[in-house]
Amino acid sequence: MAIEVRIPTILRQYTDGQKAVEGNGDTLAALFADLETRHAGIQARIVDDGKLRRFVNVYLNDEDVRFLDSINTKLSDGDTVTILPAVAGGSV
């Protein structure tokens, strides 16, 4: 089962600079565990304590997975997963 994963600039240090990599898994959690086997260090930048980090956005095709099943969102062959750090900040 091949999933295309689009990698943001800040995480390309784990993918030898590649903008997109392939991965496998029937859920997002499984996909990130699979990526970790080839791109050591990437999982901890996305997942913390079994949950998606608050300021990392993950999309399944066009949908923010927070509106689906978050890290337990089911994946199918041919899906595209996009990872984008939130653009956020504030004065305090």
């Binding site: 600039t9 923010d64 996009t82 984008l84 939130a86 956020a88 900040g89 504030g90 004065s91 305090v92």
Partner: protein, 140 residues
């Protein structure tokens, strides 16, 4: 050093004033590798807050796809502080994820006559803030 046109400078300032007392935010995109800010893209502050900003997650995906299709990158990421000086806060630093971008901060705190309008630019890399000179030009 950040070099931008007077027109882009004025649009950032106008956006910040318009959204005051909430924080305003947005991007100026430019062709990959040139460092030249060209396309002004005001973003919605999904937090609608005077002390916090966050791009709406759907808008963020659309923005990055569009930049990707056009071979652009975020040259400037700007936001306003509405009651404090135009210097990156701890929150700004911990969420700064574009080491190649100029982080522009403007302060609209002068709206109450507290001081001159501030327009400042920084690099934020691995948690380290470096202020840089801002050069405003008529055209590139």
């Amino acid at each position: 050093m950040l070099t931008l046109t007077q027109a882009l400078h004025d649009r950032i300032v106008a956006h910040a004033r318009e959204d005051h007392p909430d924080e305003a935010c947005g991007v100026v995109a430019g062709p990959v590798g040139t460092g030249r800010p060209e396309r002004f893209i005001p973003m919605l502050n999904a937090a609608r807050s005077p002390t916090f900003y966050e791009f709406d997650s759907g808008d963020l995906l659309k923005l990055y796809r569009e930049m990707d299709d056009r071979d652009e990158e975020p040259v400037i990421i700007y936001h306003s502080h509405t009651a404090t000086e135009a210097y990156p806060s701890r929150t700004d630093i911990s969420y700064a994820n574009e080491p190649g971008a100029h982080y522009v901060l403007v302060s609209t705190a002068d709206a109450d006559g507290a001081g001159p309008f501030q327009f400042r630019s920084y690099r934020i890399v691995d948690g380290e803030v470096t202020e840089e000179e801002v050069r405003v030009v008529e055209a590139y």
